[in-house]
């Protein structure tokens, strides 16, 4: 019988830890400024949906929905997603407009490690809104050496 202790001891042998230089909170803030032009960002109206616990950082489903009527007078112009600890802070920027009907974006992203993510929406009235999420990435076992 294999004891839990045995398994625990075995575990590090099964891991390969990819470690690379990563972005920082400052780099992320800088990237956000690049998107907003330094305008203030208010928490709200944006919903960033991503699993809080991710079993493999290579392909992580995420979606962003912004509460907006998406009319010619009042719509979301762009949605951007940023991260704190991948090699680069930028994930994706989408340009949309009233023809989208809904302010929605879904994709699969990579997460180098556990970290904070931020989604920012740029609205037609010049305001910026955001939501953030904290994600824990567990590591896959039995990775090919």
């Amino acid at each position: 019988m294999i004891t839990p202790r045995r398994l625990f001891l075995a575990a590090p042998g099964l891991l390969l830890l990819p470690r690379a230089a990563h972005a920082t909170a400052e780099a992320m803030a800088e990237a956000v400024r690049g998107f907003t032009g330094g305008a203030p960002v208010t928490r709200g109206r944006v919903t960033l949906d991503i699993s809080p616990l991710v079993e493999n950082g290579n392909t992580v489903p995420l979606s962003v929905v912004v509460d907006s009527p998406m009319t010619a007078a009042d719509h979301v112009r762009a949605i951007a997603v940023f991260n704190e600890r991948n090699p680069q802070p930028h994930v994706i920027t989408a340009q949309l407009g009233p023809r989208a009907g809904r302010a929605m974006l879904a994709t699969h992203m990579r997460l180098a490690t556990s970290q904070r993510l931020l989604a920012v929406a740029s609205l037609s009235d010049g305001s910026f809104w955001s939501d953030e999420a904290q994600v824990v990435v567990t590591l896959a076992a039995c990775i090919e050496g």
Binding site: P12, L14, N56, N58, P61, A141
Partner: protein
């Protein structure tokens, strides 16, 4: 001989004391959703490519797979492999059969194990058994290999001195460095593993489990893998085929 009879009797029993469950059940809901929805399952890109390859003429006679195999004729095939190969007098897995048809019947250049083309064709053929129960053939010529597979599964190996059974039968559902240990049912192959960021075969998955315990893996196509697959398929009999599945 008594030993062998006993092994076969054990094989005939419901493989595990606990409820059998596909690795699908152990996945996070987000990963399950990715598999369930064909437009977000990247494995479908390979299955689509396989569908094209199936219709593409190759070899001197300009025949395609479809010239000999009618639409729909591949339904249920993946659910009953590995099977007995009369020509070679040995068990053969589905990828091996496809590769054989390609060289011997189509006369086209061989497709290597784990090549994009062979994975794509295997995914396309496998997809046509989706949802069907795994139904290992009762062919007694396969018994010896199945018994060998059971023995390989129970054998300790590698620097960590662990058998497949110690993880997959004794500790399924437990976490191993973040991953949940599944019951090791080969229901979804070839499948898209997030770790690989690509489609891969059962043999690639088994290699991962072998290098994981620091054992030297068998070479691709080795009879040992086919023996293990025969055993795993009999252990998974009745579970639904999921090809092309998604796994972490």
């Amino acid at each position: 001989m008594i030993h062998r009879a006993l092994m076969l009797a054990l094989l005939a029993l419901p493989a595990l004391a606990q409820e059998r469950r596909s690795g699908f059940e152990d996945m996070a809901p987000q990963t399950q959703a990715m598999q369930r929805d064909d437009t977000s399952n990247p494995g479908m890109l390979w299955a689509l490519e396989g569908e094209d390859l199936f219709r593409q003429p190759a070899g001197p006679a300009g025949q395609s797979c479809a010239s000999c195999h009618a639409e729909g004729s591949m339904q249920g095939v993946a659910a009953r492999y590995p099977a007995w190969d009369t020509a070679r007098q040995a068990p053969i897995d589905l990828a091996g059969r496809i590769a054989q048809c390609r060289t011997d019947r189509q006369g086209a250049p061989p497709l290597a194990r784990e090549s994009q083309g062979l994975l794509a064709l295997s995914a396309h053929v496998g997809q046509q058994s989706r949802g069907l129960p795994i139904a290992p053939p009762a062919d007694p010529r396969l018994d010896a290999a199945r018994v060998q597979g059971a023995a390989l599964y129970a054998e300790r190996r590698g620097q960590l001195d662990l058998s497949c059974a110690q993880c997959h039968d004794d500790h399924p559902g437990r976490r191993l460095a973040g991953s949940i240990i599944p019951q090791a049912h080969p229901t979804g192959y070839p499948l898209y593993r997030l770790e690989w960021q690509a489609l891969g075969s059962l043999q690639r998955r088994l290699r991962g489990c072998m290098t994981g315990v620091r054992a030297e893996p068998f070479a691709y196509g080795a009879p040992e893998y086919i023996a293990i697959e025969l055993f795993l398929m009999s252990r998974a009999a009745g579970l639904a085929v999921e090809t092309p599945a998604v796994r972490p």
